[in-house]
Symmetry: D2
């Protein structure tokens, strides 16, 4: 049994971490901090937790956090990097659910997040926590940058193609048309997020630039080992009037070799041992509700033209796209069964 700290448990990734960790067989949440809610019982803020925990928010105390085996940061961008160095010096592992340890390119981080990185050395040693692709590195990592929700779908959606020995696709014409539920925007008082502005409505947003775009590009470069090959990737996120769920529709041009490859088989083989990635049969349509609350990601392939591939990728943005993946990373880091605490079945309907 390891002891766990959560910094910033008042947002949706925070409460989702609690939902998962309070049922984890080998982890115990010991510290829960909040700048604004110190002294309040978390179950008073999130009544779904009533009867499941007596945890109270405390002020962020590094002394307390250092006594944990691992600390999750479910905070705004820029918080984890202030404390990571001291925590790992004390032997405490760090999993950041914000962006502080996602981008190795410091200039891109500064450009998109509007702040300088405060611990580039720790960043360099940190590991990008996409469990399926970086499993071995994660096992030995001290600091994890947990992937963004959109980038998770794009990477797992494209990895089998990019990891193939041959060049199967044109990397410069990828289009990602992504759709997310509203919880992806977090839990904050914002006019644009209120119910009557979002219900019964659909729109694109961030078309002129979204923070997950550079993360996607850097991650795909790392997967493929090809620098500069994804500069023309198009990424258009949309907002869906639903709480949870994310679907990315990815359009890819196949090379000659790609056209001659059995791509369905390629994907099935690539993910055959992955418990959280489901390659659906041909002509399936992954629905976001099929993974609601579950640490799962479903993929389906279509070939509308001989040289075109459409990849549909569905996940719950708060689970496989955030808190679930973070717990999966923790399991790897501590040598637990990778599925410990993550075997819940999606809530359908």
């Amino acid at each position: 049994m390891i002891s766990v700290g959560i910094v910033g448990g008042t947002g949706y990734t925070g409460v989702e971490l609690l939902r998962l960790l309070l049922r984890h067989p080998q982890a115990q949440v010991c510290v829960l901090t909040s700048r604004t809610e110190a002294g309040k019982r978390v179950a008073d803020m999130f009544p779904s937790l009533r009867g499941h925990t007596d945890l109270e928010f405390s002020d962020l105390s590094l002394d307390l956090l250092k006594q944990c085996d691992v600390v999750f940061f479910a905070t705004p961008h820029g918080v984890a990097m202030q404390h990571a160095e001291e925590l790992i010096a004390a032997g405490t592992k760090v999993i950041d659910l914000a962006a502080d340890f996602r981008l190795q390119d410091l200039a891109q981080f500064e450009k998109w997040y509007g702040m300088q990185h405060s611990c580039p050395t720790v960043l360099k040693d940190s590991v990008y926590g996409l469990s399926e692709l970086n499993r071995e590195k994660i096992k030995n990592a001290k600091v994890i940058g947990n992937p963004g929700c959109y980038p998770t779908t794009v990477q797992l959606g494209l990895a089998p193609l990019l990891k193939a020995q041959n060049q199967l696709i044109n990397t410069q014409s990828i289009i990602v048309d992504a759709k997310s539920g509203v919880s992806g925007a977090g839990r904050k008082a914002s006019l644009g997020m209120i119910y009557s502005e979002n219900a019964d409505n659909f729109k694109a947003y961030g078309v002129a630039g979204h923070r997950h775009h550079p993360e996607i590009v850097e991650a795909l470069e790392n997967i493929s080992g090809q620098q500069g090959q994804f500069d023309q990737l198009i990424f258009v996120p949309h907002l869906v009037p639903m709480i949870r769920g994310m679907l990315s529709t990815i359009y890819v041009d196949l090379t000659e070799q790609g056209q001659q490859t059995d791509l369905q088989e390629l994907y099935q083989n690539f993910y055959q041992n992955e418990r959280f990635v489901d390659v659906m049969p041909a002509n399936s349509s992954p629905e976001t509700r099929s993974v609601r609350g579950a640490n799962e990601l479903r993929i389906a392939l279509y070939r509308p033209q001989p040289n075109k591939l459409i990849i549909l990728v569905a996940q719950d943005n708060l689970v496989k796209g955030a808190a679930g993946q973070a717990v999966q990373n923790m399991n790897l880091m501590f040598g637990f069964d990778e599925a410990a605490g993550l075997n819940g079945i999606g809530l359908l309907p």
Copy 2:
């Protein structure tokens, strides 16, 4: 053609007033003010208005407003009462969609709205703008207090009983179980109002006390002419995960005389000449979507026990419960056809 001013056009009642008034055959919106948005085109804030108006927000200028024939206040509580006196002195009529002119009881106003009333004299001469019940007074009014959304349903739901010659109901055991869409809470950045906190959820709120409660009581006293007879009325509002719409389920104990009355007939007769009140046939269930966007209110009656009456009342909280009723009042005040600008049919589905 009269000239109209709107103070505070950045909320939902403001944009709804614009939707109705921009199509009104005898009114022209000339002034639109906002503390925070002066200089901005209203169509840039509400894209549904693109192509329909070039109006820009201006700072609140009494000089400009005095040139209008009528000024609507779609502002927070407490604004209209600061300017009403000066406006009516200049010959400009005032319709307040907030609570400044709803309660004649100054102590209740102070208790529930947390401020002292600044113009009790104007208040005394103001008229409570429930068109169907106060039509004649409204025609001659200079200042209108536009009713709250919940009180509109309760008054129109109970008026035929209270206006009857005989005592048909026990006025001390009325229960109002009311349900509203989220737009009733307005358009403001508030954590409790964001999409992910309200979608796929249902709850009661304000059970321990809601501002519309004293308004309901005072209004029912005025309708019935019976002071102190509604002190035990129970009012429990609930929040429905929908944008617009309100349904009040009203439970009433019938007296002996009430039990011997043909109540369906009573209601039909009472409202037979009302264009915006629809008494549905027995065994109907008014749906909020049947009045979506329309200045209509539908009523249906049930008799589950000989001495019990259930009254179902549905309206669009932003139309008959707010902006539509305000325009209806304006029509009365200026001698227009009461339905001018209000003949739109509900948007179903």
Copy 3:
């Protein structure tokens, strides 16, 4: 480890039973039947189950079902009563999620369900499966009638009052204003249930008569031991545009003794050892999302007038109101921990 059969796994209670039972530490689903889908993998119908089970639907075979320790009927009304006798003769316990074993009054059953009861003897020996109130009887039952969703909220909402030594309330003036998500109507092709007819809409339904009304009355009589004392109970269900969730707002008149009782304490004491019933502090408002997917029911009390009590009761209609309660009953029947397989935390947001 017991072996479990499910008859009729194509509806929402069926898939919810699977979600819970596939994670149950002491139960294994061995048989799953469907009239219409025999031969189909259940995960092809409910993709949330992909990766979690290879179960296929089979035709309803009593021989197979008799080999199970317990069989759940997640079927339309009238199916379980055809097979219950043969199953219990073979030593197989039966839990019916439909209405066949809810009403002891045969005339009421025939009136409301339009069919004659085919095994009144079995019915007489069956137990009404409201675990908190009938725990001892359930432990020894062979056939369980799993309560309806609305009746569950009403019984648990009123039981502390009805079980008190003194007469705390007027049993003849109870009003239940209930609201349910759409999944309560099941999974069937019906015009009234389609998305565009229900989204962004609110209405009452079944006001002139609902099947759960006689169940509520009979159950309250059994709880209180007072026959004929609930004949004037008013029950008005409403349909909320959400998938899951149910809130009942119950209005009760207190007797003198009721007014002198500390009702908050009464409720807390009554439920202090119940793991699935949460009496919230004064002035709380139970939200349906706080129990989404969880086998929990939350209660809050209000006293708007000295002689009036309002009881708010929230649950997930598919869990504590159906499949979760059925598993809770199974746990009791087989001597398992009552919470086995039921410790999931609600999905919020």
Copy 4:
């Protein structure tokens, strides 16, 4: 004042036609037919119409329909073509909202709609009713095939590019990622359409083939005058948990000439005189709610790469994508103001 017949008024396009036509200054609905509902008042089926019409459904009688100046078919595919010839022989114009007169290619019609066309001669003389592009032909048409909802967005989204003198785009690499509210699937009892299957969910559908695909291809060929140039167009529709609204995200590769063109200006000029097409400023994001209930279509352009153009197109699928466009066509056919009866402002929120 012309007399109007509507065949098949029980679906969503039917009730939407009624909402618009009952307020049309120069049209009167005289006949309303339904196979299944003859004798029923339409306001009993659609309570939003209560108080606005006494129309009853009648059996489909050609004698009655021939007395109308124009007949709208809001029926399933295959009905209008059975009656069009006889109606136009009697001097009655026909506007079909189904697909009978959309595709000139008979083989495609047969392939996608599973039936042979019964009146190819009438089809040849019919006009495709996209008002903005075929205005002059529509004015003189006797039979109109009203465009599909998706095709409307694609055509108006691409027309300025395709009508330009120079080749601005690569016509063989167009990708249309389209999203629709659920009402697009019509009003019918279908398991896949029920609330609990669609709410809080997002998915692609029809990826392997959708009936609107051949319509889009044929229509773009006609607009551009280039046969066979759109064979590789990709079209992926998705289902959004909202009632009304459609957004198409169109990805286009620009030619050298396209890259050197001011595309924002091109679009603004192309649509400068169109009352129902709104080219929004750069960096805008058209929201479906901005056109809810309105006969409007909004377009915004993005240039994520020098050689890439993204075109966002929003409309209400039931208005500009169906009934509103049909009325617009009627206005053109009878020489009315094109906006007659269509000046409603979108319902926001």
